[in-house]
Amino acid sequence: MIWVAFALMTIAAAAAALWPLASARSGAARASDEADFYRAQLSEIERDVERGVLPEAEAAAARAETGRRLIAAATDGARVVAAPSSRRRLTAALATAAIVVVGAGVYGRFGSPLAPDMPLASRPQQASPDDQVAAAIAHVEAETRSDPDNLKAWSALAPVYIRMGRYPDAVVAFRNVLRLKGEDGEIRADLGEAEVAAAEGKVTPEARADFERALAQSPGSPMARFYLALADEQAGDTAKAAVVYEELIPETADRPQWQAIIKARLAKLKGEPSPADAPSAANAPADEGVTPDQIGAMVARLANRLAEKGGSADEWTRLVRAYIVLKQTDKAQEALASARKALAADPAALADLDALASTMPAKTMDAPGAAPAVEGAPQDMIGAMVARLANRLAQQGGSADEWTRLVRAYTVLKQTDKAQQALSSARKALAADPAALANLDSTAKTLGLTQP
């Protein structure tokens, strides 16, 4: 199809170029030249005299001047001649050849004839979940554009932006929520957090001011105090920061992921090596975060990788340190031995490892084979896992199995009211699926939960 269009255009180009050559009358016609121009001027002068616009004296002068020029022009120019038809044919052939060659050559070099147009409207809409989320976000964004005072929209967007890492947009969203809702300590603190994230972990003066306002509004807010301490630390006042961190650690016992972060920062301040993949404070989690068992999983992954593929001196050192911090001394010794073997060729690395070995506590603490002491009791660990599951189901939903698991977990933990809540949420979430509902009901009966 497109080739037809190309051919038509080429023919049109050639035709345009050759039209005068084909015209039979071009030989006979007279070309205009300067003499015509001056003749026209003379008649114009006469017309102006008739109209009374040009007085006679000036007209005489003008006529004389123009006449002089007319004579000069008439004796000057060479006449045009008619073209012999051989030359016309030659020209036609050359021109056509040039057009075709240039067309094929240049377009062949630079063109993509088979490439289709892709106007946005005709692009197939991908149904991938990322796109759906993006589309949903775009929809809410459009709502805020058309109605900048839509509190619900802004409130919905703000945490989403945080999760997506669009921190500057989150800052704007939080500011709008505060504008519309009025002063609110928690949201003010969230705003501060977003600003810190947008500044890649640095507590900017604006963020600091926001945290101070948040603290004024909600006295004792742990988040505000933490970030203000972080600001102090970044400003160099580490003693003051450490004091606040110490205060905060027992206060955040109910939020183990925060506690871990604060502990890590405190450890850093005191000069202790921090666990391998502990998060920096800037990645302050909303609800999900790095829990102790996640740390354990990460360390295990590192160990596996190093065992299979080996790694740099830094990575081995990190692994050993991680085991030390997790108080898994025997694993630390194993790792140290493997590291020594792997890095045998590198005397500098071996020296580092020796230094590290000297910091390890004596191996008398745990009985061999005892379960490694992870931070927090097993109970905490399970509680954290259940909390994560509950969050995920609340936000993203899940299968009947998962809901059932959640209800069962709460029952095991003897948190009956939470189990009831989970059950009713599950019923709402799975309302469309009668098989799932039936499943849920039987589970409830087994667990001895009454209908709400």
Binding site: M1, I2, A5, F6, M9, A12, A13, A16, A17, L18, P20, L21, S26, G27, A29, A31, S32, D33, E34, F37, Y38, A40, E44, D48, V53, E58, A61, E65, R69, A73, A78, R79, V80, V81, A82, A83, T91, A95, A98, I99, V102, V106, Y107, F110, G111, S112, P113, A115, D117, M118, P119, L120, A121, S146, P148, D149, P168, D169, N176, R179
Partner: protein, 660 residues
């Protein structure tokens, strides 16, 4: 398919331009009418093909076709439709395509409406224009192809820069390009005259409308750009002697000189060599401007993304045309027969002085623009050449020319009567002197240049008006005689008068910038500041949410004594996603002056840093430019209809000359 059709159309345009270059040239040498006529049809075909290509690119932008590289880089699906269209030329490739389109339009105009032009001249001119097209089209297709594709096609475009979504900014490039490219046709005619070895009134008659159109658009384009800078950049400046601004000023100076020269050529068949030389100069400066913006030699808000291959290619084109045309000039200028003789004190003489003055001013601007670039290349030392240099070099030359303007306007052709002119201008001179003395006394210790400029401005305006009065009353002072004279005075005279008055008005506005008032102060609500003859009070400063920005809006009320004269609002906008901030200046026009308010970052508690200006008579700068444009239009309209040519003013064919 549409995109590739546009691509192929562009290639066809190149092919046809090649034919347009060769065939009419050969035909003109051999006297072969058929070959010469090939130039006409090829020029029209070239316009059709480039038009198709441009349309295809515009469609790609409007439909957000992100498989086209330039659309992806310069557009976004959320842009309003009108700005999607202006994004077509808001980038290097698209703007070069616009350049070629305008080149093709002018070529087609010559082909379609130049039937009364001598055939040989037309053929040669179209051949040269074809050569320019070949150079630019080849450049576009090889180094800056707007139809380059990007696969896989991206989901969304890259550019949603809110600062670029502004009507003033959208219209500024097309206006300027119409100016630059118009001078290319003038250049083509000049080269044709040199090739033929002859030039005369018929030539001047035909070229003048093209020169006028180019000059009008260049004037308006420069004025538009300067006004956009004034209201957008937030500190009330409008001319910065930026290299790119200078690059548009130089063709304007050369073009103004050319316009005057070609008028002499038309009326008196004199100043032939000057005219050709100025035509070459004007186009050379247009090309130089193109080079400066696109080659990466400059960093400026105007510079497109730089690429050394492009820079070299443009430099090669520049060298070829400038060196080639100057060589042609040196070789063939002696063939031109000398024209009408005239006394030194005459209109022709004063126009030679005009040419000299404008070219010298142009040379100072050229020097001031290129010197820092050359210095940086050779020694690595970075300097800036700005207002102080130009105030000492270019401005005095132009002011001196301004003094001569009313004199030249009043002198007669061939033999001028200077004494008579001086007598006619006595009143104007007296008033100007008085103004000068008064201003000096008033502003003792103040700016020196401003009162002088103001006096020259007054002289120009009043002097022009005196000449108009003199001509109107030649037949007597009765009302009906005056009216009759008014009807019979040629439109080009009215056009000239209007344009010269425009120059005076602009100069007055420029001079008045030395007399303004400025206050830079941190203000809290309720605070009042004296600004010129007015008092400005900050009423409130509060945040406000816009569609995709957050702004701090400050409301001011401007009072004179107790009466409230105006309310102004200035804002500082922050575009969330990018963190870009723009200033929205608050401007209120009071008579011909303006109160200009611009705020910085701050809030009601801590104080809003505000810059307030009183700029007396500042609107005159742009009103004067409009008057110049109007004058050009009046001149353009001075064509008697001879062969029933269509109504488009700029396309009218050659008609009779009017001897003054």
């Amino acid at each position: 398919m549409i995109v590739e059709l546009g691509h192929y159309a562009l290639v066809m345009a190149l092919a046809v331009a090649l034919v347009q270059t060769v065939a009419p040239f050969v035909g003109a040498r051999r006297g072969d009418l058929a070959l010469m006529r090939v130039g006409d049809s090829a020029a029209v075909a070239q316009f059709a093909f480039v038009g198709l290509a441009f349309a295809a690119l515009a469609i790609a932008f409007e439909t957000s076709d992100f498989s086209v590289s330039v659309v992806f880089e310069n557009s976004h699906s959320a842009m309003p439709a009108i700005y999607k269209f202006s994004a077509v030329w808001g980038n290097h490739e698209g703007s070069m395509l616009l350049w070629s389109l305008i080149l093709a339009i002018f070529g087609a105009l010559v082909a379609l409406f130049g039937r009364s032009l001598p055939a040989r001249l037309r053929a040669d001119a179209l051949s040269v224009q074809g050569l320019i097209s070949v150079a630019f089209l080849a450049f576009i297709l090889t180094t800056s192809n707007p139809f380059a594709r990007l696969f896989p096609a991206q989901e969304e475009g890259q550019s949603l820069n809110p600062i670029l979504q502004d009507p003033g900014l959208a219209i500024h490039p097309p206006l300027l390009y119409l100016g630059y490219v118009g001078f290319s046709i003038v250049f083509a005619f000049a080269a044709a005259a040199l090739i033929e070895g002859r030039i005369d009134a018929a030539w001047a008659r035909f070229v003048r409308p093209f020169a006028l159109v180019a000059w009008i658009f260049l004037t308006l384009g420069i004025a538009m750009g300067s006004y956009w800078a004034y209201y957008t950049l937030g500190w009330g400046g409008f001319w910065f002697w930026d290299p790119v601004e200078n690059a548009s000023l130089m063709p304007w100076l050369a073009g103004t000189a050319f316009l005057h020269s070609v008028a002499v050529m038309e009326k008196r068949d004199a100043l032939k060599v000057w005219t050709i030389f100025l035509a070459i100069l004007a186009f050379s400066f247009s090309l130089l401007g193109t080079f400066l913006v696109r080659s990466g030699v400059l960093t400026s808000v105007h510079a497109f993304a730089s690429d050394p291959t492009r820079g070299l290619a443009i430099l090669a084109i520049l060298a070829f045309f400038i060196a080639g045309s100057l060589t042609l000039f040196a070789w063939r200028a002696s063939e031109l027969k000398p024209g009408g003789i005239f006394a030194p004190i005459s209109r022709e003489g004063s126009l030679i002085a005009n040419n000299l003055g404008l070219t010298t001013a142009c040379a100072t601007v050229l020097f001031g623009t290129l010197y820092p670039l050359a210095l940086e290349q050779f020694t690595g030392e970075k300097i800036t050449v700005g207002a102080p240099f130009f105030n000492m070099t270019c401005v005095p030359i132009l002011l001196t020319l301004g003094l001569l303007t009313p004199v030249g306007f009043s002198l007669a052709w061939k033999r001028g009567d200077l004494l008579g002119v001086a007598q006619r201008l006595t009143v104007a001179l007296a008033v100007a002197f008085a103004a000068l003395a008064a201003l000096f006394a008033f502003v003792r210790g103040g700016p020196v240049l401003a009162p002088i400029a103001a006096a020259v401005a007054v002289l120009i305006v009043l002097g022009t008006l005196s000449e108009v009065a003199a001509r109107l009353t030649r037949g007597g002072v009765r009302a009906d005689a005056i009216l009759a004279r008014a009807k019979n005075l040629p439109l080009s005279f009215w056009g000239g008068a209007c344009a010269h008055i425009g120059v005076g008005v602009t100069l007055l506005g420029l001079a008045a910038t030395g007399f303004g008032a400025e206050a830079v102060i941190s203000m809290k609500p309720g605070q009042t500041v004296q600004i010129g003859p007015y008092q400005a009070t900050l009423e409130s400063a509060a945040p406000r949410q816009g569609p995709n920005y957050q702004e701090m809006v400050a409301h001011f009320v401007v009072k004179s004594g107790d009466a409230t004269v105006a309310r102004v609002e200035s804002a500082r906008r922050e575009f969330g996603a990018r963190g870009m901030t723009t200033s929205q200046a608050g401007i209120v026009t009071l008579w011909f002056g303006q109160v200009y308010v611009s705020i910085g970052d701050g809030d009601a508690e801590g104080g809003v840093p505000a810059r307030l200006y009183w700029k007396p008579l500042v609107t005159l700068i742009w009103l004067g430019a409009l008057a110049m444009g109007l004058g050009g239009l009046l001149s353009l309209a001075d064509r008697r209809l001879r062969f029933g040519a269509p109504a488009r003013a700029r396309a009218n064919a050659a008609t009779a000359a009017r001897t003054a």
